[in-house]
Symmetry: C2
Subunit: 672 residues, 2 copies
C-alpha cells in the first residue's frame, strides 16, 4: 500500500467503474453525488454497456481510460469487483473505493474474497477504502464519493466511521441541525486502509476535531500514538460499541479481574487524551459541541434560567461533571441586581424568573459573559406564558459573537421550543434538549482542555533494565513468584515452600516467630476465603495445629515470616493483546475487587508517573508517607520486570504491604 | 382544611376573581382556558369594573355571587389576594386556586403574607392550591384551570409538579409528541395543599401512572406510605432536583458519611416502589413510556436493527439495565432464516441488514413478537439509502395492535427519521432518539414490575421491645456505647475503660491475652488511621509498650479482649429528619467508606427483611454462613434499640466481626 492518502481523499480525477444511468443503482448515485458536490476534477464513467452518461463520455473498461485517474470507485458486486480491482492495479491507479458488500462480513466465503482483495491491493500497491463501505466526503476538496444522502456544508469536524449505517444517521442529523463537517471517511471492513491510516492523513491536514465511530480498534499501540499526537492540538472523541463483559469467564488474577478489557480501554484512551463516548447520544452531543463551540478556558460555569428547578438540577450537574459554579464578584452581583427584578436570584445559578422576556435574558447574559471569572454560560429556558423563545435565541447569537465564550443552551419542551432550537442551530450555538446533556458536554470539553494543559504523553518513558535479568530468565519457570520478584529487586518477606511440618519448624526457628502458613497454588485466587491463610502463628504448637488444618487441602504449603501491620495494596501488570502491557495499582488484599480501586497506566512507567498513579488511587490517603518513595520504586521495578520478559502475560503482587518503614511483597503471582 | 379534594379538582361551578377582558392578563387567560377545555359547569367572573365578560355576567365581588361555587380562582396580585381569600372564606367557598406570586418565594415579607394565607385557609377550612402556582388541568372533568398554554388530549398519565415552569415544558412536550394526560396539578408554594393531599386524592381516582416533579418532599413518611400504596397498582416516577452533597461538612459517624441524604432518598424511594429519575431526560422518557406502553411481563428483550453497531450498543445496554437478551428457540431461528437474507444476523440482536425495506422489518418483528420468550422488542433504524422510514413505523403500529407487547423504537438521525418519529407518536409507539434511552426506559419498567412482584411494603413490620430498656434509659448518658449495646442483647467482647496501666494489666490477667488497646473518644472516627488501635498484645511487656504509645494522645484508653479473625461489617442506624430512622448494613472496618457497601432499609426491620438486606450487600459472599442468623438478629436488635430510644440520633457498630461461630460488636458509637 502506498501510504500517502492525499490523492485518495483529494483526487484530481476519478473513474467510476459501474457508473450507471439507472437512478436506483449505486453507480448512478455516486456519480450524481460527485457531480453535485462541486468536484472540479475529471470524471470518467466506466460501463461496457453505455457510450455516455449524461454529458460524460463513458469508457468500456478500465484499460481504455485515456489517463491514469487518481481514484477508482468500484460500484459493482462481488465477485466481479475483484477482477475490476486487478484491472485498476494493472492500469496503475493507486487509490480505490470499494462499495461492494459480500466480503468478510458475509462469512467464510466472503472472507476468502477479502483475502484475495488484500493480495491484489498489495500486489499493485493500491490504497483500498472498504470493501463494504459507504465511501467518503471531503468538503475541503470538494468531493462526495458516497452513495448516501449527504447534504453538508463544510464545517469544523472530521469523522471516521467504521459503519455506513452510523454515517447515514450522522449525515441526516448534520443536515437537520445545520452542522457541517470537512471530511467524513467510512471504513467498512478495513481490509487495507484502517483508522490509523486515515488518522495519519488527518494529522497533516487542517486542524479540527475528530469524531471516531469504531467497532474495533486496529493495532492499539499505533492508534494510541496517533490519537495522542492529534489530541495535543485537536479534540478526538470516540464511540466504540461492545464493552466486553468479563463476568462469564473465570479470571486467573486479581489484575485480570479488576482491569477487564473495558477498564483498559478506558484508561488508555484517557492517557491518550481521547474523549470516550459511552452512548450514541454522547457522540452526537459532542459532535454538536465541537462543531461550533469556542474552546473552553477553564471550568467555571454560570447558569441562567427562567425556572428554579432546572437551575438546581444544572448546578448539581456542574459539580458531577467535574466543573465549578462560577462565583460572581460584587460588581457582577450589583449589575445583576440593577437589571433584574427584586425577587430574581442573582447568585449563580441566576433565576431571571418565569416572566423574563428576551431582553432580560440578554441583559443578564451580557453581564455574566463580561465577567472574566466565567468560562462558560448555560442558558436554560422553559416556555412560559410570556417567554420570547426565538428572540431570546437571537440575542444569545449576538452575545456569542461579542464575547466568543462558550454558550450552551437548553430550551426544554416540544414544538414551542423547537423554533428556538432551529434559530440556535442557525446561529451555531449548541442546543441540548436537556440541561444535563449540555453540562455533560461542557465537562468533556474541559476534561480535554485540562488534559492538554497537563501535557501528558503516551511514550515519554524508557524501558529500564532489571537487575539479575539473565538469572531470572533461567530460573523463572521453576522458581516461585516470590523468588522471581525478589531477584528483580523488590523486597519480599522470608518464605519457603516446605514439604513437611519439620521443615516448617526449621524455617520458624531460623527466621523467628510469628509466621504465616498458607496454601501455595498458581491458580488459587481467594486463598483467604477458603481458610487457606493462617496468620499470627506464635510458637511450635500453633504451627502444628495450623499445619494439620492446611494439610487437608492437598496443596503445597508455604511458610512466611509474618509481616508487620500495614496497608494492603495490589500492583499488577497484564498484557492487553491490543494495547500492550498495562499496570494496575490500587487497594489490595481480599477485598481488592470490592474496593475496586482501579488505577491503570500503559507501560512503560517512570517514578513521576508512578507517583501520579498512586496519588489518584482511593487507598492513597491510607498510605504512610514515609514509604511512598519505596512504593513508587516497587511499581517501576515490577513494570520493568514485565517489560523485559515478554513471556510474562500477567504478574501481580497482592497484597504488597505498605508499612511505615517500607513495602513488602507478601503474595505474588506470575502467569506465562 | 377540608381534606376531600373532589370538588376542587372536579368542580361544578367556578368563580374567577380577577377575571378580565384584557388578553394579556392572567384573569383573561384562565377564563379562556376554562371555557376552551369544555367545562360543563357554571362560570362566575368576578370583577368590580365590568358588567360582563364575553357573554358571561360579571359580579362586583365574591359576596354578590348568587351561589356558593365549588371553586374560587384567585387571579389578582398580592396583597389584595389575601383580602379576596378572606371573602372567599366568608362566602363559604371551600376550594381556591391562588396564582398570585410574591409569597414565600419572594423573601421575608412574602413569607409573612404566606403565613397569613395559611391562617385564613385554616380559619375558613379552604383547600388552597398554591400560591405561586400555574393551577391544574383535569381532563377527566374536563376543566383547565391554568393560565398556561395547554393543549392536551386525555391520556394515561397524571402529573404533580411543584414548578409551573416544568409544567409549561411538559405541556409543550406533550402537545408536540401526541402524549395525553388525565390530570396535571401544579403545587406552587404548597402553603396548604401538598403532594400528599393530591396523592391521597389520586389514590381514589382511576388507575394510571403518576409522574412527580418535586423540589421538596413534604412529610417524608406520609409521602412514602402514599406512594408505596399507589405503586402497588400504578407506576410512580419522581424527579427531585438538588442532590445534597455531604462532602462539605465533616461527618461524626461512618453511617452518616456512607448513608448521605441522597443515599437515603434513593433507598426509601426504592423501598416504596417509586422509580427515581436522575435527569429531566429520564422524566420525559418515562412519561412517554408509561403514557403508551403495555405493561412489561418479563425482562427478556429482543432487538431488531438495520445496523450492526447500534445493535451491539443496545445489547450492552440491555445487560447494563438489568434486563436479559431473549434467547430464540429453534423454531424462531428457522422462521427468521426463511424470511431474512443469508447474510442477516438471526441471533438476538437481529440484523436485518442495511438494505432492509419496511416489509423485512415487519416480517422479522412479527416472528419475534410471536415468540412467548420475548417480553419486549427494541426496533433500531438508521436512514440508509433504501430505508422506508414511515412505512416501517406503520408496520410496527399494526404489530403493536396485534401482539399488545411492548415495542420501543429508536430511529437514529435528523429530519429524515423525524417523519418516522411523528408517525410512531401518532401510533402511540414510544420513540427515543437513541437506543440506550429506550432500553433504559424498558429497564425501569421492568424494575417496577419486579418490585410489584416482590410485594414489598413499607410498613409491614412491628417495632419490637428491647431487653433492659428501662435500665438502658437510666444509664445511657453515662455508659459507654459498648455497655448500652450489650444491655440490648448484642454480644460484645469483654472490655473496659482503664485509667492506668495497672488496671489494664488487671483486665488482661482476668480476661486473658491477647488483648487490644485503643483510644476511646465519642468523636474520633478513624482511630486506626492515626495509630489509635494496637492489636495482638500477647503479654505484659507488650501491653506496657502499647500503653506508652497511646498515652501520648491524652485520650481515654479502652482495653478489649481480642476478637478472633472474621469479616468486618458495619451496622448503623441514622435518623433522617424527613423519612425517619434508616438502617445501614455493609462492609465495615477502616475501609468502609472505600468499599461503599451501601445497603439501606427504612425501619422497622424484621428478620426476613434483614436477610434480604444482607443478601444484597457486596460483603455477603465473604460472610460465614453459620453466623448469618446471628447477624440478622444483631441487625434487628440494633434497629429496635434505636426505635425505642428516640433520643438516639445515630447509633452504629463498626466493625462488628462476623466469625464462623457468632457476631461480636467490637467498636460502637452512640450519638444523641
Amino acid at each position: 500500500m502506498a501510504h500517502d492518502l492525499t490523492t485518495l481523499f483529494c483526487p484530481k480525477s476519478i473513474a467510476i467503474i459501474g457508473a450507471s444511468r439507472s437512478p436506483e443503482k449505486v453507480g448512478a448515485t455516486v456519480l450524481k453525488n460527485i457531480i453535485a458536490s462541486g468536484f472540479k476534477g475529471d470524471i470518467y464513467p466506466v460501463n461496457p454497456n453505455a457510450s455516455n452518461i449524461g454529458n460524460l463520455w463513458c469508457y468500456k473498461d478500465t484499460a481504455s481510460l485515456p489517463v491514469i485517474p487518481d481514484l477508482a470507485v468500484i460500484a459493482i458486486p462481488v465477485p466481479d469487483a475483484l477482477d475490476v480491482l486487478t484491472q485498476v492495479g494493472e492500469k496503475g491507479i493507486k487509490n480505490a473505493v470499494v462499495f461492494s458488500a459480500g466480503f468478510k462480513e458475509a462469512g467464510e466465503e466472503g472472507k476468502k474474497l477479502e483475502d484475495r482483495l488484500i493480495e491484489i491491493a498489495q500486489k499493485y500497491s493500491i490504497n483500498v477504502l472498504g470493501p463494504n463501505c459507504l465511501g467518503f466526503v471531503n468538503n475541503l476538496c470538494p468531493v462526495n464519493v458516497t452513495f448516501g444522502e449527504v447534504v453538508s456544508a463544510s464545517g469544523n469536524l472530521r469523522f471516521i466511521s467504521q459503519s455506513g449505517a452510523i454515517a447515514s444517521s450522522l449525515f441526516d442529523w448534520c443536515k437537520s441541525n445545520n452542522v457541517g463537517f470537512s471530511q467524513f471517511v467510512t471504513l467498512g471492513n478495513k481490509a487495507v486502509i484502517n483508522e490509523n491510516d486515515v488518522l495519519e492523513y488527518f494529522r497533516n491536514t487542517p486542524s479540527m476535531a475528530v469524531g471516531l465511530y469504531l467497532e474495533s480498534i486496529s493495532k492499539g499501540s499505533e492508534f494510541l500514538k496517533l490519537t495522542a499526537e492529534i489530541s495535543k492540538t485537536n479534540p478526538v472523541f470516540l464511540l466504540k460499541p461492545g464493552k466486553t463483559r468479563a463476568g462469564a469467564k473465570a479470571m486467573l488474577s486479581h489484575t485480570g479481574s479488576i482491569a477487564g478489557e473495558d477498564a483498559v480501554l478506558e484508561a488508555v484512551l484517557s492517557q491518550a487524551g481521547v474523549i470516550r463516548c459511552l452512548t450514541l447520544e454522547d457522540f452526537f452531543d459532542l459532535s454538536r459541541s465541537f462543531a461550533w463551540a469556542e474552546n473552553i478556558k477553564g471550568p467555571r460555569v454560570a447558569i441562567i434560567s427562567n425556572a428554579g428547578g432546572p437551575a438546581v438540577i444544572s448546578a448539581d450537574a456542574v459539580i458531577n461533571e467535574g466543573l465549578e459554579l462560577a462565583e460572581f464578584d460584587t460588581e457582577t452581583l450589583l449589575k445583576l441586581q440593577q437589571i433584574l427584578p427584586r425577587s430574581a436570584g442573582i447568585l449563580n445559578p441566576v433565576d431571571v424568573l418565569g416572566d423574563a422576556l428576551a431582553d432580560r435574558y440578554a441583559k443578564a447574559a451580557d453581564v455574566i459573559l463580561a465577567n472574566t471569572e466565567v468560562d462558560a454560560l448555560i442558558v436554560i429556558l422553559t416556555p412560559q406564558v410570556m417567554t420570547q423563545i426565538e428572540k431570546t435565541a437571537e440575542n444569545l447569537g449576538n452575545l456569542s459573537k461579542k464575547y466568543r465564550k462558550l454558550i450552551f443552551c437548553s430550551f426544554i419542551g416540544g414544538s414551542l421550543v423547537a423554533e428556538g432550537e432551529q434559530k440556535l442551530n442557525e446561529l451555531k450555538i449548541p442546543h441540548f434538549r436537556f440541561p444535563e446533556r449540555a453540562i455533560w458536554a461542557v465537562g468533556k470539553m474541559w476534561w480535554y482542555k485540562n488534559h492538554q494543559n497537563l501535557k501528558q504523553s503516551i511514550t515519554q518513558n524508557q524501558i529500564q533494565q532489571v537487575p539479575n535479568l539473565d538469572q531470572i530468565k533461567q530460573i523463572m519457570h521453576q522458581a516461585t513468584p516470590n523468588e522471581i520478584i525478589a531477584l528483580a529487586g523488590i523486597a519480599v518477606p522470608d518464605s519457603a515452600i516446605v514439604p513437611g511440618l519439620q521443615e516448617a519448624k526449621g524455617f520458624a526457628s531460623k527466621c523467628g516467630f510469628p509466621v504465616v502458613l498458607k496454601l501455595f497454588s498458581p491458580t488459587l485466587l481467594h486463598k483467604k476465603a477458603i481458610g487457606g491463610v493462617i496468620t499470627d502463628i506464635e510458637n511450635n504448637p500453633q504451627l502444628e495445629s495450623a499445619w494439620k488444618e492446611l494439610e487437608s487441602h492437598h496443596l503445597d504449603i508455604q511458610i512466611q515470616k509474618q509481616v508487620p501491620p500495614g496497608v494492603e495494596v495490589i500492583i499488577g501488570v497484564k498484557k492487553d493483546p491490543n494495547f500492550g502491557p498495562v499496570l494496575l495499582f490500587g487497594a489490595g488484599g481480599s477485598y481488592a475487587e470490592l474496593i475496586c480501586d482501579r488505577n491503570l497506566c500503559l507501560l512503560p512507567i517512570d517514578l513521576p508517573r508512578a507517583k501520579q498513579l498512586v496519588a489518584k488511587s482511593k487507598i492513597y490517603s491510607f498510605l504512610a508517607e514515609s514509604s511512598l518513595d519505596k512504593l513508587y520504586e516497587t511499581i517501576v521495578r515490577l513494570a520493568n520486570l514485565a517489560l523485559n520478559i515478554p513471556e510474562i502475560s500477567n504478574i501481580e503482587i497482592n497484597p504488597a504491604i505498605v508499612m511505615s518503614d517500607g513495602v513488602l511483597a507478601v503474595d505474588c503471582k506470575v502467569l506465562f
